[in-house]
Amino acid sequence: MSAVTLKNVWKAYGRDVVLERVNLHVKTGEFVTVVGASGCGKTTFLRMLLGEESPTRGELLMDGRPMPGEPGPDRGVVFQKYSVFPHLNALNNVLVAEEFGRARLTGHLFGAARRAARDKAIAMLEAVGLQQALKKYPHELSGGMQQRLAIAQALMKDPRILLLDEPFGALDPGIRKDMHALILDLWKRRGLTIFMVTHDLKEGFYLGTRLLVFDKVRHDPQAPNAYGANITYDIPVGRTEPELLAEIRDQTGLPLATEEN
């Protein structure tokens, strides 16, 4: 079953075309990584999946139905930063997801409902390795722990797809490796469909089951914004030859972040 389908999607802001003729089928359970030079439309692509933006032309479908025009609980998201609520401690940051859905008026659960939600939240925090930090506020957590918290938050709603917008871009290489392990583990165990935008070509190349490269195929030197980007590579799992990596690097001009330990 295809979770997300794009049929001849264009996105333009006025006369500036960002994406053009994008066609894509993503099946449930795929882990799609998206790379591209800055300004190539990969963030726009993610914003369309979120519902923040809608296509100028073409069709964007989720489970065969048009994508809703605003963010909703069927699509979870983790941004590079500001993903968690600074005024809530770790436990409440996750618990609030449950309360948003079930306490439409007061925003707070009480009694048995609260205890059940609390147990669910604690289990989720344990799944991302934050059981020691329940009472900590985000500013007391390291960058990696904040992203773990943001992932736990997003998974509380059991989203159809999980969108990750350069989630590990601000983390140290060692921490990033831990986070890769965590996200792969969650993806396998929970059968998630993941879209991950990344800056780091190597991360994109080795992490997912499928790599999308966004780039402009047509150029007009007189009007650099006249043509939009398209998917120039769509590489399935397992194809990780160094030559291919080098080829994409040359085309996109992206650096290969060297991983240190």
């Binding site: 923040e52 979870g76 941004f79 609520f85 809530l88 609030v96 439409r104 008026l105 007391e140 709603k157």
Partner: protein, 272 residues
């Protein structure tokens, strides 16, 4: 020798340096007062510190011969009530209007130009209108304070709402929050500490408007008293009153700052 910008006083020295200007001012006043009183012991303009204290004590502890009330406390209660009402109403308006205008595009487009325009009107220029409309009672004074500080607080709250990262609002939506729940659980708690900060800054203006309105029409109040005794050049009353008002303003400021630190432990760390 280090550069001047790198030389820092030690803690104790720092406190002493902070005290120094106050001591110098006090000494200057005492010298000037002594010089004047030496020429004319009944000179009212610069009374001695002893006279100032005696007057203050008398106003605070001895019932007035005319009304039988303790003048200082009656004035303080009247003024603080007006100030508190005005500030509380302004804060409530700031929260409601600021959040609506900052978060909901339709409300923002509707309200923002009005708020900007109202903020431009000098409040004292409309004081006569307020007295004509609301009479010379309490209401006009409270309304003047609201008129003077509510636009500032509203704009500050609105700005804070607009500064909230879009990521947070999107995240809340992906967790299933409605507009109401976003206001209740995401925006409101993050805006209240900023509201207290804005209120602290607005208190100076609130005092200004309070005393201005009391000076024009009142039967009791700190500002009323000062302007009443001005006719007799009664500096022995005016000076202690000014010090008293300053002290009250200072304590209010400290209380608000303390409340912010106690109630919102995450607020200071957020910037770190």
């Amino acid at each position: 020798m280090k550069r001047l910008i790198n030389q820092r006083p030690r803690r104790a020295v720092g406190y002493l340096l902070g005290l120094l200007p106050f001591v110098l001012l006090l000494l200057a006043y005492m010298a000037a007062s002594a010089a004047r009183l030496a020429e004319n012991p009944n000179d009212p303009l610069l009374p001695s510190l002893g006279t100032l204290f005696d007057t203050f004590w008398r106003l605070a502890t001895e019932p007035s011969r005319r009304t039988g009330e303790l003048v200082l406390w009656v004035d303080t209660a009247a003024s603080l009530t007006r100030l508190g009402l005005g500030v509380a109403i302004s804060m409530a308006m700031g929260l409601v209007v600021g959040i609506l205008a900052g978060l909901i595009p339709y409300a923002g487009r509707t309200l923002s130009p009005l708020i900007t325009a109202v903020a431009m009107i000098p409040p004292l220029a409309v004081l006569p209108i307020l007295f004509i409309t609301f009479g010379v009672g309490e209401l006009a004074k409270v309304v003047l304070i609201v008129f003077g500080i509510a636009p500032f607080i509203i704009r500050d709250v609105k700005q804070r709402v607009e500064e909230l990262p879009t990521e947070q609002l999107i995240k809340a939506q992906t967790l299933g929050a409605s507009t109401w729940l976003i206001i209740l659980r995401v925006v409101l708690p993050q805006v209240v500490p900023r509201l207290l900060d804005a209120t602290r800054l607005a208190l100076g203006a609130a005092w200004l408007f309070l005393i201005a309105s009391e000076a024009i029409a009142a039967t009791e109040g700190l500002g009323y008293r000062i302007f009443l005794v001005r006719r007799f050049m009664d500096m022995a009353t005016i000076l202690p009153y000014v010090v008293w008002i300053t002290l009250l303003a200072f304590l209010l400021d400290v209380a608000l700052r303390f409340a912010n630190r106690m109630l919102f432990p995450w607020y200071g760390g957020r910037r770190g």
